[in-house]
């Protein structure tokens, strides 16, 4: 999949006359993302955008937020979560994913929110996830993230992990015992 950078978000403003500010304000209903047209989803800060193949934009935005709430890392940008769950945006997975997110939204309404993304605090969304956590849909998403998120090589440096060192001759001459604060 590709994650593109949107540089001209204002072009996407609907003709109804909403200002960009209003649109972004409205976008809070979709967490940190907003819909810019059918089958197209972008970050509210325009840092990334993705074309959708099978899922409704609202569904995918909710899924991305769900992924972040399951494994929240504040120093990791949404684009890595998008990559981690993009596989659900396929003909094969769309029906089950739409149903799973519908259940998530229903659980959110039980907790008094308009939808999952309508819950403003992470702690409120976590309460919703706790209702969901034994369901196969939750377990599938969580289990998939273990490799989908943490096995992205681009994520490793964000944790300080250096990956393989064989091509550089290992750490024998590069700090295998360089700890200096003990």
């Amino acid at each position: 999949m590709t994650v593109k950078t949107i540089t001209r978000v204002d072009r996407q403003v609907p003709k109804s006359g909403m200002t960009r500010r209003e649109l972004l304000k409205g976008a809070t209903a979709l967490g940190t993302t907003f819909v810019t047209g059918t089958g197209f989803l972008a970050a509210s800060d325009a840092a990334w955008a993705t074309e959708l193949n099978a899922l409704k934009p609202e569904t995918f935005a909710t899924l991305v937020q769900m992924a972040r709430d399951i494994y929240p890392h504040d120093h990791i940008a949404d684009e890595y979560y998008v990559i981690a769950v993009k596989g659900y945006d396929s003909e094969q997975h769309a029906k089950a994913t739409e149903a799973g997110i519908a259940t998530l939204n229903a659980a959110a309404r039980i907790k008094g929110h308009t939808s999952y993304l309508g819950a403003g605090w992470e702690a409120e969304r976590v309460e919703v996830l706790e209702i969901m956590q034994n369901l196969p849909f939750f377990q599938q998403v969580r289990g998939g993230l273990v490799t989908g998120l943490y096995n992205q090589k681009a994520v490793w440096p964000l944790f300080g992990y250096e990956g393989e060192s064989f091509t550089q001759g290992g750490y024998l001459d590069r700090g295998f015992n360089d700890i200096n604060w003990l």
Partner: protein, 523 residues
Amino acid sequence: MAAPFDLTDNDVVVIIGTGAGGGVLANELAQKGVSVVALEAGGRYLPQDYVNDEWESFGQLAWTDPRTTSGDWRVAKDFSGLPAWIVKAIGGSTTHWAGASLRFQEHEWKTASVYGDVEGASLLDWPIDAAEMAPWYDKAEEKLGVTNTGGREPLPGNNNYLVFEKGAKALGYTQVHTGNMAINSATNDERAACRQTGFCFQGCKWGAKWSSAYTDVPRGEATGNLEVRENAHVARILHDDQGKANGVEYFDKDGNLQLQKARVVCVAGNSIESPRLLLNSASTLFPDGLANSSGQVGRNYMRHMTGSVYALFDKPVKMWRGTTMAGIIQDESIHDPSRGFVGGYEMETLALGIPFMAAFLNPGAWGREFTTALDGYENMAGMWLVGEDMPQESNGITLNTDVTDQYGLPVANVHFDDHPNDVAMRNHAYKQGMAVYEAAGATRTMPTPPYPSTHNLGTNRMSDKPADGVVNRWGQAHDVSNLFVSDGSQFTTGAAENPTLTIVALAMRQAEHIASEMNQKNL
């Protein structure tokens, strides 16, 4: 006759598996002029093939054929289809092992006598002892090039070790060092010295860690007496009317069933596959499985009391740099029942990369408690806890006839319930492990549950008495005189130590016995 051998050659020793047991036995016999056919279920991967990427390497090397699990152990819940993390390749799990090479302590050969009655445990003394094994340990340490033995220098301590050592000494532990490792601290036996690269579990790309894949196996082949057949999955051991083993049926690399005739058969497929094979070899003469008149085949499965402790500090550690497991605290390995359990445990440094840390730190966990731990990955140190677990008759390998593998053979179900002694020991080990890191200044410590088993032991156990064991003091089946068990499944009890050195020592001893018996026409 020189290798390769004909399928109808009934003068060969057939060895099933090429790991620490089978690979060593194959070479030792070949060096003595014995004709050997080794059947290996996996393919041949050498240092240039190993991949320093945790999941990609797992896909390359791990045994991922279907298996099932049951019992109250947490692995059955977290990894229900993956009870063990072992290897399907030439060299077996010696490609994956960390290299820790420890001798059993003297009392660990005689635990039924030393520990006394432990309710629910099927403890038994080994029919052999420390004095008998000492010269074989000498030979095994020499073969593996074990550090801190035979005049070989210790490995240098990496960052993870230095944190561990500081905490250990602050806590008053005295038996603290960089281990007895089958990893070269200097060039030795045509193998390079360790470059502190990490990824010991993914196969050593320098060949600094001993593995039978690039030592014993090719050296045996070079004699002309050993033929290794790769991707040969053994289905059944056959026998004649007198109950002597006379051949081995296996699926070759193309999936065709072949029959290799045999003079002697040695089983070394690890403690899950070895009993599965004997059970799958049931016949009219051996209705409960081959060599199973005792009913002990598959029973007394041990997997060591294990667990890990990871800790976060306020400054970087970078634990992944360097040797994965070169660090040990041995003070708790003694038998001291005043701690509330029999037997002891070792504490050994351990590091995982981010991909495996995410999978194993607390399987199934989610939310901030989990992710803030990973956020501290650069400041993390880690250790593995490994101790003696209690053999229990009800823990073991049975055939699951509801699930079959790619060849249509019933798979192994691995059943394990923790014994109360295992639980008490694990809780003690967690407490001490966390104390070590707290003494070094940790800001947070995490008692981490067991991973899929790497030390699989005991399912064809050794006893002088045919009634309570599968094999005798030579690993020879009580019921079938030309059938041997050559892997960790012959362990009577598990001891606290990583088992590979003992498996190698037993294989070297068994090779001498088999060659001698063949010369005397007793086999």
